[in-house]
Symmetry: C2
Subunit: 250 residues, 2 copies
C-alpha cells in the first residue's frame, strides 16, 4: 500500500547513549503509531549536539511522512532541540506569546517566571503548539516534525494531542501464536508458510525462559485481514504437523 503514512523517531540525549537512561519513548510512540496505521520505519538516538540534530532532522523529514523527536526542550543550557529543529528548517525562533501565556498561567509574572523557564516558550514561527497537560511547557509541530519532551510521562501525555494531528492509515493487524518448538525445529516449515503467504509478514520471536529453555512466539502481521487469517490457519496446521518434535535447543 503506497498510501500508508510513515514515520521516524529521533531520541535526543547524551544520557541514552551513555547508558544512564534506557529510552522508553520509542516504544510508546511505536504503539500509538501502530494503532493509527502509521509505519514507524526507523528510530535514532543521537547526542545533544546541534549539528547532529540538524543533520538527522534533515535526513529524515524528507524521507518520511512524520518525524517525532523526544528530549532537549527543557529550561537548561543543554536543551537545544527547539533551536536546532528551527535551524534545520530555516525558520526563525523566539519566545512566542501563546507559549509564554501558558507559562504565565502556571508561574505568574513574578520571580518564578525565570529566564530559564522562558526558554520553554521559544517556538519557531508558524509552529503549532502541542499540549503538555503534565507540566505546561508545550511541544510544537513544525511542518511534519513533532518536537516533544524527553521525560516519559510528559512525552506520553503530549502524544494524546499528537494523535489528533496526524493522518491515519489502514491499521496493521497482527496475530500472535505461542509455539512449543524452538526456532531450529520451526525454521524450515515456517519458511514454507511465509513464502506461501507473501502479503503477510511472519516473524518468530524467541526468548529465554526463566529456568532455561526457549519460548517462541510467532507473529503474523498484515493490513489484509483475510490474508492474515489464512496465514494464521496455515501456521496452526504447520504446528500440528510438528507434534512430537523435540522442544529443546535453540
Amino acid at each position: 500500500m503506497t498510501d500508508t503514512p510513515t514515520a521516524a523517531m529521533i531520541v535526543i540525549g547524551d544520557e541514552v547513549l551513555s547508558g544512564r537512561t534506557r529510552d522508553a519513548n520509542t516504544q510508546v510512540l511505536a504503539k500509538m503509531l501502530n494503532e493509527a496505521g502509521i509505519d514507524l520505519c526507523e528510530a535514532r538516538a543521537i547526542r545533544d549536539d546541534e549539528a547532529e540534530i540538524i543533520a538527522t532532522v534533515n535526513a529524515l523529514r524528507g524521507r518520511y511522512t512524520y518525524v517525532f523527536t523526544s528530549g532537549g526542550i527543557g529550561p537548561t543550557h543543554d536543551d537545544i532541540t527547539a533551536e536546532a529543529v528551527a535551524a534545520a528548517m530555516e525558520t526563525p525562533i523566539g519566545i512566542r506569546d501563546d507559549a509564554r501565556a501558558i507559562l504565565v498561567a502556571r508561574y505568574g509574572e513574578g520571580a518564578d517566571l525565570t529566564d530559564a523557564r522562558l526558554r520553554m516558550a521559544r517556538i519557531p514561527d508558524g509552529a503549532t503548539l502541542i499540549d503538555n497537560p503534565v507540566s505546561g511547557a508545550p511541544g510544537f509541530r513544525l511542518d511534519n516534525v513533532f518536537v516533544m519532551a524527553g521525560v516519559p510521562q510528559v512525552f506520553a501525555a503530549m502524544l494524546d494531542h499528537v494523535r489528533t494531528m496526524v493522518g491515519t492509515g489502514e491499521v496493521m493487524k497482527d496475530i500472535s501464536i505461542p509455539c512449543p518448538y524452538p526456532e531450529g525445529v520451526l525454521g524450515g516449515p515456517l519458511t514454507d508458510v511465509s513464502q506461501a503467504h507473501p502479503n503477510v509478514s511472519i516473524g518468530s520471536y524467541p526468548r529465554l525462559q526463566v529456568g532455561g529453555g526457549w519460548g517462541v512466539t510467532i507473529v503474523a502481521r498484515s493490513r489484509d485481514a483475510t490474508a492474515l487469517a489464512k496465514a494464521a490457519g496455515a501456521i496452526h496446521t504447520m504446528l500440528a504437523s510438528l507434534e512430537g518434535s523435540t522442544t529443546t535447543g535453540e
Copy 2:
C-alpha cells in the same frame, strides 16, 4: 581527545519498531562501551529489511571506529542480518566449519542438526567468531562490525567476548549530584557553571517523582579528573547559593 574510539549501534528488528518489544540491548552496550572509554555516538533501530541493513551498515562503518548490531542471526527466514552485513561489506558468506562444529557439539550430526539451525553457522569469509556461552550459535566480527544476537541474555553474554576484542580509550568519568531545585530555578546558574568549565559536559536530568513534583539530577562528565572535580565543586557552591529558592514547578 581525537583518539577516543567511537561507536554506533544498529538494532535490527520489526518487533522494536512495531512497539511489541522495548529494546534492551542499546543500554547494555552503552554501559560496556562507557567502561571501555569508547563513545557511543548514535543508535539506530531499523526494520528486518536487507536494503535497509546494507545502507545503514555502510553509512556507519566508515564513520565510527566500531559498529555493533543486534538481532536477526537466528535460524528462521526473517533472520537476514548475517547475509546483509556480508553483502554490505562485499564478502562471501556460507556455512563455515568452525561455526558448524559449535552447533554439532550441541546438536550432534543427526536430525537435530536441522537446516534451520545450520543457518546459524553462516559466517562471512574472514570474520572472527564471537562466543555465545548461552546457546552456542556464534556472532561474528567482520572488520569493524560486530554482529550479535537480539535476545538480551545472549547479546549480553556475547559482550563478554566483544569487550576483549575492542580497543579502549580514556574512560569518561562522571559525577551525579542530586538537586532539590527544579530546572526552571537551576537553569540560569547552571548555564554559568557550564560556561566556566568548557572541558566538562554538564547535563541536568529531570524526572517526575511518584506523588508529583520534579526531581533533578545534575551529571557532570569529563575525561579530565581535575577539571571534573573543579566543576563538581562549582556545582555544589552554586546549589548552596540557591538555598531558600522554591523547589516547585518545572
